[in-house]
């Protein structure tokens, strides 16, 4: 197993508030890492640390390192825009930009990559097919993305990430607002996608982690309590707090 991301002694602060406490974690290539924990446990902050979206928040500060292919992403010479393209992020609520479906998919591509219309059209078709949205929208690519349903919008957001050709896909509670059928469609896409990508899935639905994650990490109050193969975490966790959380004693 190759390590894709190595988090070493990583802490994060908002002003004087410490939101992540010396996290050590290896993320394996082509696997799905499920990140679970109650609200305020730091799991979304952890995600934001990986693609440096936390930089955008005022008074954000970090300690320790996060290495991708041996390179600390917090080094001063890192091109942050490029980094974010490598770690595509899907948010809790789908946010299509007020543009056409086509333009949404190629938004990131247009920023740096090819701009030739035919090439862009190929990318759109490919990415929409891989999120099984193509059949539903192929005849109305030029209509506004805002008119899609919630589930379709979320799959569009994933397609928009795929168009970046990232190495990682970060998902922040991607199914929190979706019905079970849309959720199942997204989980199916994730299982397909892990062949090509390393996926980090933050979820407050522990059963979702149990269904799709290979490894599961449990966060509590900014601490990584434990991480291991999903089966083990869900059946025989080492830490009592993990067991309590999974049994619903708190959270």
């Amino acid at each position: 197993m190759t390590i894709a991301i190595r988090v070493k002694g990583f802490s994060h602060f908002f002003g004087s508030l410490q939101t992540l406490k010396t996290i050590d974690l290896d993320i394996l290539k082509n696997e799905i890492l499920g990140v679970i924990g109650p609200a305020g446990s730091g799991k979304s902050t952890f995600l934001g640390a990986l693609n440096r979206m936390n930089d955008l928040i005022r008074k954000s500060r970090t300690e320790g390192t996060i290495e991708i292919e041996g390179k600390n992403i917090y080094d001063p010479d890192v091109n942050v825009a490029e980094l974010r393209r490598r770690l595509g992020m899907v948010f809790a609520t789908p946010v299509p930009l007020p543009r056409s479906i086509f333009e949404n998919v190629v938004f990131g591509t247009r920023l740096s990559g090819p701009r030739h219309r035919a090439r862009l059209a190929e990318i759109v078709e490919d990415c929409l097919k891989r999120t099984s949205l193509w059949e539903e929208v192929k005849d109305r690519l030029d209509t506004s993305a805002l008119r899609l349903s919630g589930g379709q919008q979320q799959r569009l957001c994933i397609a928009r990430i795929l168009a970046l050709r990232p190495d990682f896909i970060l998902l922040d509670e991607p199914c929190s607002g979706l019905d079970p059928i849309s959720t199942a469609k997204i989980e199916d896409s994730l299982r397909l996608l892990k062949r090509d990508y390393t996926i980090i899935l933050v979820t407050n639905n522990t059963k979702q982690a149990a269904r799709v994650a290979d490894q599961t990490a449990f966060f509590l109050s900014g601490e990584l309590i434990e991480v291991g193969p999903t089966d083990k975490i869900f059946t025989a966790p080492d830490d009592q707090r993990t067991d309590d959380y999974l049994r619903g004693r708190f959270g």
Binding site: M89, V95, L111, L164
Partner: protein, 278 residues
């Protein structure tokens, strides 16, 4: 004693209807009054001929041109400055003491009477910088007069763009400038343009700031250093000096009609734009 809720609702609704009716009535009254007074002198030659004999005869062509170029100069200067400042305040700085001071300053500037701007423009542009009474001096003065409005309306428009759009844009690997130009500005454009249109309306109707800085020459401006008279100034002089009331009302009618046309055109463009982007 409390009123019966039904009666209360009825009274409130009636009161609101009366307020709306008064507003609409005043608006229609002004427009009809001016058009009726002015319509007798309006014909094609009134628009295409220059004023003759101080404005007693002839048309108002040179003042229409004067109004257009002055407004154009003002908008060309104020729009980039104002929108740029708004972008800086909203996207490139955290909210702090300095941004609050800038914003407070802009608000104060917006409340200063235009004649003060006229005086300022006269001292700075006309005399100190030696631009004389000219389109340039007048345009610069108008630009400073409308700048606060453009800054504040642009800022509000930019702020109303959802924060999630910015997050998405950043997460897809855009730089801050790409985020501003590709996501924020298109979404904020209707609001920004509305602010600019309001400013254009103010510029067209402005007299005090212009009369001190652009002068009141009746000939056609030939360069930005020519003195020029705007329609509003022309109206003011015709009416105040009692030169020709009918031509004054004719000028007023054209002023009102141009403002109407500008507003209609804006709404039309805005509709088209909104349909394209959402």
């Amino acid at each position: 004693m409390r009123l019966d809720p039904k009666v209360e609702q009825g009274l409130v609704k009636a009161a609101l209807q009366v307020m709306t009716a008064v507003t609409v009535f005043v608006l229609i009254f002004i427009i009809v009054f001016i058009l009726r007074k002015g319509i007798s002198v309006l014909d094609f030659s009134f628009l295409t001929r220059n004023p003759v004999d101080m404005g007693r005869g002839g048309g108002i062509f040179s003042t229409i041109v004067g109004t257009l170029v002055l407004t154009l100069v003002a908008v060309l200067i104020a729009a980039p400055l104002g929108v740029g400042t708004a972008i800086f305040l909203t996207e490139y700085t955290w909210e702090n003491r300095i941004t609050r001071i800038i914003r407070f300053g802009a608000d104060c500037l917006a409340g200063i009477p235009s004649i003060i701007f006229g005086l300022f423009g006269f001292i700075l542009f006309v005399t100190k910088l030696g631009f004389g009474w000219s389109v340039l001096s007048g345009g610069l003065t108008l630009a400073f007069m409308i700048l606060p409005t453009i800054i504040r309306t642009s800022e509000e428009a930019i702020k109303s763009v959802p924060a999630t759009y910015r997050q998405v844009s950043f997460s897809l690997g855009s730089t801050r400038w790409q985020m501003v130009t590709r996501v924020v500005l298109p979404a904020a454009l209707p609001g920004i343009v509305t602010g600019i249109i309001l400013s254009i309306g103010r510029s067209i109707g402005e007299t005090a700031a212009v009369i001190f800085t652009a002068g009141s020459a009746l000939h056609l401006p030939t360069s930005i250093f020519s003195s020029s008279r705007t329609m509003a100034v022309h109206f003011y002089i015709l009416a105040r000096e009692g030169i020709s009331m009918s031509n004054a009302y004719g000028t007023a009618a054209i002023l009102v009609i141009s403002v109407l046309i500008i507003n209609l055109l804006t709404y039309y463009l805005m509709e088209k734009f909104i349909r394209k982007y959402s």
